[in-house]
Every structure is written in C-alpha cells, then in structure tokens.
C-alpha cells in the first residue's frame, strides 16, 4: 500500500510537468489559405491581449485552476466552470485572445503545489506549500507573501532555480503552443502566442506583454524570457531582435499599468538619468507601437493633477494613484508625468523636437489582466481580477487581494477593458500588422465602434457618401501621421456607434496635445459632437451634462438620453502649422452602473458612501500625429 502511494507521488510529480506533451498535435497548423484580406480594414475585431491562466505563478496561487484550454474556450464563447465552481460564459465571444502568462516562474506554483511534500527543502516554500493546500483563503495569503518576497528580491532560490525553471518553462511552453494552435481558427478566432515580461524595479510596474505574429514553428524556437530588474527593457528588445533575426518572424511588446510605475514608464531621460538619445528613442518606438491604457488595475489615460481642465479626467485613477504596484513606494504628484499616456504622448512630441525621434508615438488598447482565465470586461458579467474575487457577496468590500492588507479595495477595480483592432481579416498576421500601424483603440468594456480619419480636405459633405473609403483614400486612419501640406488646417472625420447591447453615447471629444516653440507642452479637450446638440448648448466652453438614468435599486439605466451614433467632420480651429501635435478621440457613454452596483443589487449589499457605483464608460482611439516638415 505504501509503495503504491509513493509511486503515485512520484508519478504525480512527473505527470504534472509533462502533461499535455503527448496530447495529439494540432491538426491544421498555421494560417489557412482560405482567409481573404479585404482591401482596407472593414471590420473591427475585439479581443484581450492580456490574460493569465493557472500557468502564471501568482494566478495559480490565487486559486486559478483553469488552464489555457479553458481560457480559450471561454473567450470563444463556450461556457466553462470557473475555479470557484461557478458557471461562466461571455454574453458575446471575443475575436482574438493573447494568453500572456508571466514568464518568470512559469508554472512554478503549480509545480510546487503538485510536488511531493518530502521533496520540498526550503522552509519558506514549505510554508507556502502548506498554505496552498489548506484552502483558498490560505492560498491567497501564500501568494501575497510570494509577491512581497518578489518585490524585495527575497524569493527562495529553489523557486527560481534556473535549470529547473528552464526545464519547466520549456515543457509548459510546448504544451501551451499546442493548445493555442488547436484553438486558432483563421477567419473566425485568432489565438496569439505571447507572454508577460514582468519587469519591476522594486514594486514599480514596468510590465510588458509580448505578442508574436507567427505560427507555432517559429515561436517554438524560443521560450519566454525571464525579466531582470533593469529600468528599460533593453534585454527584452535584444530577445525580440534575436527572435526576428533567427526566425524571420515578428514580435511586439505592449507596456501596461504605467499608472503604477511611479513615473518610470515614460521617462524623459535615458535609464541612467542622462539625456535620451535618438537611437534609444527609435529603439523603443520600433518595439512598442502600442500601450495598454485601461485594465482592472485602473485607467492610465490621464490624471486630474495633469489635466485639471478636463472634467472627465480621473476615470479609474482613485486608489491606484497613491502607491506603486506592490505598495513599496508612495507616489508623488510629480511621478504622474511619467505614468499616464496622454502625458507620454506630449513628452514624445517634446523629445522629438529636441532629439529628432519620438519614443512615445504609441497607439492604445484596453485589456483585462484577468488572472482567472476569464476575459470578462462587462460590468454586468465581471469575474474579477482573480478567483479570490470571483462573484461572491464579500468581494465589493474585500481588499484587492484579500489577506494582503494594503489599503487598496477591490471595489476600486475597474471591470477592465478590451482591445479593438481595425484589420483586413481575423488572422494573426492581419491583427498584428494593425497593432504595428496603431490602427487600434481601447474601451473600458463596451464594444463601441469608432472610426477616425485625418486629412486636409475632408468636409461635412464627405459624411453623405462612402466616407470610410474616402477616409483611407484621402487621409490617414487612427495611428497614422499627417505631414505638413502648404496652407490650411487638418480636418478629421470621426464617427462613433454605440455597443449594440450597451448604452447610448453622450459625446465625442477630440483631445489635442502640442508642444510650442519654447518647448512647453499643452493639451486641450474639444467637444466635437454630442447628443441633443440643439438642447445642450455649450456655454463657457462646456457642454451641459447628458443627464443620468441610472437606477441603483435595480442596477439599470435607460437609453432615453444620449444617441446611438455620433459623427462629424472637425477642423482644428487653433492649428499652427509650425507646431507638432497629436489628436485622439474619446467617446463617452451615458452614465451606467458599474460592476459594484450590479453586485450590490445581486447580493443586497449596503456600501459606504466612498464606493463608486456609476460611471461613464469610454473609448480611447490611437492618435493621429501632425509634424511640420
């Protein structure tokens, strides 16, 4: 009997690591020839570039037991059973998904959990092993301790033993490549290969998601790269360069949670504090065409401190703006300059003026950063950051990571966002190329359709014809650049459509940033079109609020205010051809209940006054840049 038990233990330790290797290999590899690309992007595709599964060291510790296969099935619209045993299903499937598990310690907590206890030597690991086996609450505690140890570079060596880790990562990566390929269906659903490069300085968040354009054959030639603790991810970019050179493939990286970087994500200097060189700026721009502007851990568009004249600034900043990711270094207001995307766009212009290259010419997307294998961004179907905060009556009043007492409350989590990509087909190649040219936008969850074109001769009459075709023929789409062209100001076609199962639109704004000759940066928000314009007259530069139909007793709203679609052609009234500028679009929905309000009704909660229950969800487009020749 005992012999059998020991055999079982040994077998377990082995199978848990090799599981999936013998799994039947993908049947239809690579991109099928049958998918045709359209002449120009006709359709917007919705996805998540940032999802964690049980392979992530922290996700497993948080209690996530769903592997990449379950994550992919869920994203494709199938019902799955969550880690806490609840049935979960998206109201609408996604078009694409990037499972981006942490490279560092990939599969380590699962390996620890599955190991025979007698094989564990380190006292810290033994403690975490025991906690993880005791139950979900203790497992959260273990993970909180693990994250703290990571922040202070005090992880037990055995957890990061390079030889062990390399072996484990290779096995998990191979199984992952198989699964992702099995669920990639060109033309219908794109499953990308990728990983997260969790770069941190102390607790300052400098994380990146890495996404490959290529098929299994190429990507299998590499394994995910472990981060070190440098200030700039030069080692990651070296890895990406080496991958592209040796395989002929393509790869990009997307920074996220600049809001938790304490000003380090978008620096004005080089990593040593000296002036940034043009070569450094170009290197960054070449590898990182897009940033993640919104997700569960807050929104990084801008902060009220940076944009005091923007009445809609500060969406999803509260709670995330007081400290860095791991609460190891309080945030000072001056840090905000390097932490928010609008400011980064301005810094980019300034640097370009000074050194001739713009490191921050970035497009934007939204994503989830869910650690539950469930890519949910709808407030009425939100599954939380991790299994500890999957739907339950306590999650609105719990800490962000229950058991990790850091003063960040879970109600401050946003229901995250999605990435919208204007592509010529739903394939890895077409979606990737669209990200590369920044023809993408982000929303805080709702699937609004937004078009944005810049050119020199658009007029209101263009909206009467096939304006999308004109947009591409006579202008540039979001993500593009306008070069100086003699006289006149640029004009922009902007058109937004509500989510077919969501709320009406309040207004469309164009946000302009520029840098003057003296080297000072500026920003201005223009309301360009809004609902009921005849009744809501602008006065003193402000458009009256759209109103509010939210009923908190039932967590509902009415589309009796706002408009299903808003479109206009806008010419910059303050254009100066000698001045560098960017323009991006922000679309605001009418007020709706947030996920906490839905929870409050579902679980009959009484919540404190400080808890936010309503919001105006939004879409942010990538910019169109203007530079004097």
């Amino acid at each position: 009997m005992r012999g059998k038990l020991i055999m079982a233990a040994v077998l377990l330790a082995g199978t848990s690591l090799t599981a999936g290797c013998d799994r039947i290999k993908h049947i239809v590899g690579g991109e099928k020839a049958a998918v045709k690309d359209t002449a120009y992007p006709e359709q917007v595709f919705w996805g998540d570039t940032h999802l964690h599964t049980a392979n992530s060291v922290d996700a497993f510790g948080f209690g996530n037991r769903l592997d990449p296969e379950q994550a992919l099935r869920f994203a494709r619209g199938e019902e799955v059973t969550s880690s806490t045993g609840q049935k979960a299903k998206l109201a609408r499937p996604l078009d694409f998904l990037v499972i981006a598990d942490h490279a560092e310690g990939m599969g380590a907590t699962k390996a620890l959990y599955d190991a025979p206890r007698m094989m564990i030597n380190d006292p810290m690991l033994l403690r975490w092993y025991d906690l993880m086996h005791q139950g979900p609450k203790e497992s959260l505690q273990a993970t909180a301790e693990l994250l703290q140890a990571r922040a202070h570079n005090k992880l037990p060596a055995a957890l990061n033993d390079p030889a062990q880790a390399a072996k484990r990562t290779r096995k998990i990566w191979d199984a992952y490549l198989d699964t992702v390929d099995n669920y990639n269906e060109p033309g219908k659903f794109t499953a990308f290969f990728g990983f997260e490069y969790t770069l941190m300085q102390g607790g300052n968040n400098l994380h990146r998601n890495v996404i490959f354009r290529d098929n299994r054959e190429r990507v299998a030639k590499v394994v995910p790269l472990d981060p070190s603790s440098e200030l700039w991810p030069d080692k990651l970019w070296d890895y990406m360069d080496a991958y592209e050179k040796s395989t002929g493939g393509k790869v990009l990286s997307i920074p996220h949670n600049s809001n938790l970087s304490n000003g380090l994500m978008f620096m004005m200097t080089d990593p040593s504090g000296g002036p940034m060189t043009a070569a450094q700026a170009r290197r960054r721009a070449a590898h990182e065409p897009v940033v993640e502007i919104t997700q569960i851990k807050g929104d990084s568009e801008t902060h009220p401190f940076l944009s005091p004249n923007d009445e809609f600034a500060g969406y999803g900043t509260a709670g995330w703006d007081t400290n860095n990711l791991l609460n190891s270094q309080p945030t000072k207001p001056n840090d905000y300059y390097g932490s928010y995307v609008r400011e980064a766009l301005k810094r980019g212009l300034l640097l370009e003026q000074k050194i001739g290259a713009n490191p921050y010419k970035v497009g934007v997307i939204g994503s989830t950063d869910s650690h539950s294998s469930l890519s949910t961004a709808d407030d009425n179907n939100f599954w939380g950051k991790h299994p500890g905060v999957e739907p339950n009556p306590r999650r609105a009043t719990d800490s962000f990571v229950p058991g990790m007492n850091v003063g960040r409350m879970n109600w401050q989590s946003l229901a995250s966002g999605y990435a919208a990509v204007w592509a010529t087909s739903n394939t890895r190649a077409a979606l990737f190329d669209a990200m590369k040219r920044r023809e993408v936008y982000g929303t805080t969850g709702p699937r609004m359709t937004v078009r944005f074109f810049g050119g020199w001769d658009f007029t209101a009459s263009d909206l009467k014809g096939n304006w999308v075709k004109s947009g591409y023929a006579r202008g540039v789409p979001m993500g593009g650049s306008l070069q100086a062209r003699g006289k006149g100001a640029p004009s922009f076609i902007v058109s937004a459509l509500k989510d077919p199962i969501g709320a009406n639109l309040d207004r469309v704004q164009i946000i302009k940033g520029w840098v003057d000759k003296a080297g000072k940066t500026h920003e201005k928000v223009f309301d360009v079109v809004w609902s009921s314009m005849d009744k809501r007259k602008a006065s003193g530069g402000k458009v009256p609020a759209v109103g509010d139909t939210v009923d908190l007793k039932t967590a509902s709203y009415q589309n009796t205010i706002g408009a299903p679609t808003l479109a206009t052609v806008w010419r910059d009234p303050e254009f100066d051809p000698a001045v560098r500028a960017f323009y991006y679009v922000r679309v605001l929905e009418i007020p709706t209940p947030n996920w906490v309000a839905y929870d409050a009704v579902k679980y009959h909660l009484t919540l404190g006054k400080e808890v936010t229950l309503k919001q105006q969800e939004r879409a942010y487009t990538s910019s169109i840049w203007y530079s004097p020749s």
Binding site: R23, A158, L463, L497, I501
Partner: protein, 276 residues
Amino acid sequence: MTWRNRVAAALREPIVHFMLAGAAVFVVLAGRAPDLGERRIVVNEATVARLGDRFVESFHREPTPAEIDGLINDYVREQIYYREALRLGLDRDDEIVMRRMRNKMIALATSEAEAAAPSDTDLRSLLDKDPGRYAKEPQITFTQLFLGADSPAARATALQAIAILSRGGDAGSLAQPAPLPAHFEATPGSEVAAQFGDEFAAALPRQPRGRWTTVTSGLGLHVVRVEQLHAPASPSLDAARQQLTNDWHNQAMRDAEDTAYRKIRAGYDVVIEQPK
C-alpha cells in the same frame, strides 16, 4: 572530502547503527511485533544524500558528520511518528490530509485523459450528436441603411427611404453616417449579431427576399433588403476535425475525474442517515 563521502563514512559509524537500533527498539516498544516492510525503516544512501542537499540549500555549506547524524535522526523520527500516526488512524479525521489525498487522486485520474487521443469513430459520434454545432454557420447577404434611434421621425424617414430605394434610387443621404457598412456579402450570422445584436440577426432570415423592409436592432432603426440566405453544407468530419478534437479532449478531461470517481465509488457501500 565532500559531505557525500562523509555520509558514506557516517553510515559505517557505530553511532548511526546504534541510532537505527534505537529506532527499532522504539518501534518494538510501541506495540505489536514488527512486520517487515510496514515496520522496517531503511535510511538508504539516496535519502541521506537528499537530506544533505536540503541542508546545503538552507545553510549554504556542507553539514558536519554530527549534523548529518542529526538529520538522519530527525528523518527516522518523522517516519516513525508518521507510520505510527497512520497505524493509529490519526490521518482519518484530518481535513487537510483528506484534501491532499483527494487532489492527488484527481491529478492521477486526469493525467491519463490529458494524453489520450480520439479515434475517427469517437469524433464521428460527437459530430452526429450535434451536427449544427460543427456545420459552417448560415450566411446572409443583405444591404442596410441605418436611420438612428427608433422614433416616429425615423419611421417616417424609413418610409421615404423605402420609396426611393424601391424605385431604384439612392437613399444614402437619408442614412446616419455611422461606422457600419451598407452591404454585407455572405456574412455569418454571428458576425451580424456582433455588429447589430442578436435580435437583428434573428430577424433577418424572416424578411422577404429582395424587398426593402424596416428592422430594428440594438442600435436603432434600419431599412434592410435581404438578398440571399446561404444554407450551410452539412458538416464533414475533416472540415470540423480540429473543433471536434478540441471538444472531445475537453469532455474527456471533464469525464476522467467523474469516471474514475464512479469506478471507485462502485466499490463502496455508502449509507446516509439523515438526522430525524
């Protein structure tokens, strides 16, 4: 001399023999006659080596012979307590022990399914169970004009548009300039639903062919002409092979735990006595 040599030397030391003998005595004194196998503790070289490795990892130096003795002593002590505890049944009411054993059994059960591959017969029977799931989606070709939120004014515009369109005219100027294509060629129903909502996708096939009608969606009011419905061909095993394999595998993983449980469960007689 490395600690391994020291271990080898230590194993020849009388103190170790004495200690093992002591352990044996403890076992004998603890109760019933020793049953070889159940009651024999052999500290072999591999075990001692592992104990030494563990020491090095924690203290970053090699253990002294005395420390190795200590480690062995403690190992034997743990084994003896563990076996005695099992013998006394102390594991039986321990929830943590039970949960760990249960997890190990589940992992054992599912590891086989993880590696399994379906036959064509497996896939065929899955396909026959739900052919609709594995068929290509029905597609639809239609043209639409979006007139904004549904309102009496929009309804009036719709009538106007239908009149113009029915004469073969161009009513494009009556439409709202929304980011929606006018024409959809052989578009799968799910894509129509993604852009217009389920209600609209469901309504389209019910519209008369080749005639302009009004249809509402999650966006508002549309004037629509459905040109063609493309019925899907019946699904083939080869075309759906990947999806079938994925579904089979997913189900196999789910079933594995259930099946294993039912097999073991069959060997038990479970009596439940509800409190009166």
